[in-house]
Symmetry: C2
Subunit: 240 residues, 2 copies
Amino acid sequence: MKILLGSGGIRTEERRNLFFRLMKENFEGCKKVIFIPYASGDYDEYTSSVKEMFNDLEFEIIGIHQCENPLAELENMEGIYVGGGNTFSLVKKLHENKLLEIIRKKVLNDGVPYAGVSAGANVACPTMQTTNDMPIDLVPSFETFDIVPFQINPHYHPGGIWWKENEELNEHFGETRKRRIEEFHNYNDTPVIGLYEGSFLRCDEEGVELLGNKAAIIIKGSEIKTISPEMKINYDLSAR
Amino acid sequence: MKILLGSGGIRTEERRNLFFRLMKENFEGCKKVIFIPYASGDYDEYTSSVKEMFNDLEFEIIGIHQCENPLAELENMEGIYVGGGNTFSLVKKLHENKLLEIIRKKVLNDGVPYAGVSAGANVACPTMQTTNDMPIDLVPSFETFDIVPFQINPHYHPGGIWWKENEELNEHFGETRKRRIEEFHNYNDTPVIGLYEGSFLRCDEEGVELLGNKAAIIIKGSEIKTISPEMKINYDLSAR
């Protein structure tokens, strides 16, 4: 089992370099990687830009929407990469195209490497319920791949936010991520990893390794703990 | 028809005073106002705090969850106030308790005054799709009261955000509200009002009046226009 999950916000040179290195390692030995662009509004455009981005790496990117028979293609796939965008749109399509079970089986039983960034990290979790996205598409259920036993909140940041207008910063009083995740924990016990931008989780049989930036470990009823890059944790989010 | 919709973020003395004045005017002549606390995790506590907040006003607040027969109570209600919290939890309960149609009828046909803040403003719109909340509850449909013909994005702010840690501000690269609302407009034509915190919309037969703070007028395919408090607009969001 080989899973790479990224928060997104990969906008600096340093973050981009780390992303390329981790993607290269994650899909080492793969010739073809199936790309799932369903979180975006334009599958062709998104797939082209991802192809271009990974042009220098060994594997070829194939958009799942361009396959004549996606389920047959998935049976033979060597790697799966799920891109970002809107998680509701992504989950709706995953259910419609009946991709949950086959991808779960491929990753967990057959060891096919998986990578997902932002919405693609959300759907690696048991449910999509810790997404930040707007509900632009109705989903039949919140169920997602469930290939890791915790929830991820991508683009995580602690506390309140400020927004800028005419170079002046204004405090915003909307709900913090902490408050939103507390609301999630009103109904659910699953632990949550708040992934700061530029952070990645590398998961294998041993457990989880954090790379790139910090993460918040949010366990129902406990104080939030912030962990640093290079830290290794177990699947129950305890220190390793 | 008498509808008051607030963005939330009512955290300054000035914003609070405006909120009290507008609530007083909105529910003038009402003895009892039904309060819908379904967006919160604790209906009793939320209802008590709202009762206390409006203690000095003329009307009495009655929590809908404390009514023996809510539908009968709603038939005789003089005012409806829907509080904030999680929009998914609120919408789930509104559907479960079959409250959409009766409240729509009361407000549009019988002129019963309505007030809603944050999630309570979201549900006044045709759908809940421009909420910022986390999907902690599965809803059977996004349909909401549809008592105004536009969507509201509460707690709106333009452009990117910054978050503070150890007095240092960090830029955040997650999707902006503009981007999220563009995604909504990929599938929908309904115009959106981005309501800055501290803003209110007062709606009657004539149209809509903005009070307290600014608002962004977001029409599919057009440049975003920002309007100032005291501005009056028509229901198609054109200037009045």
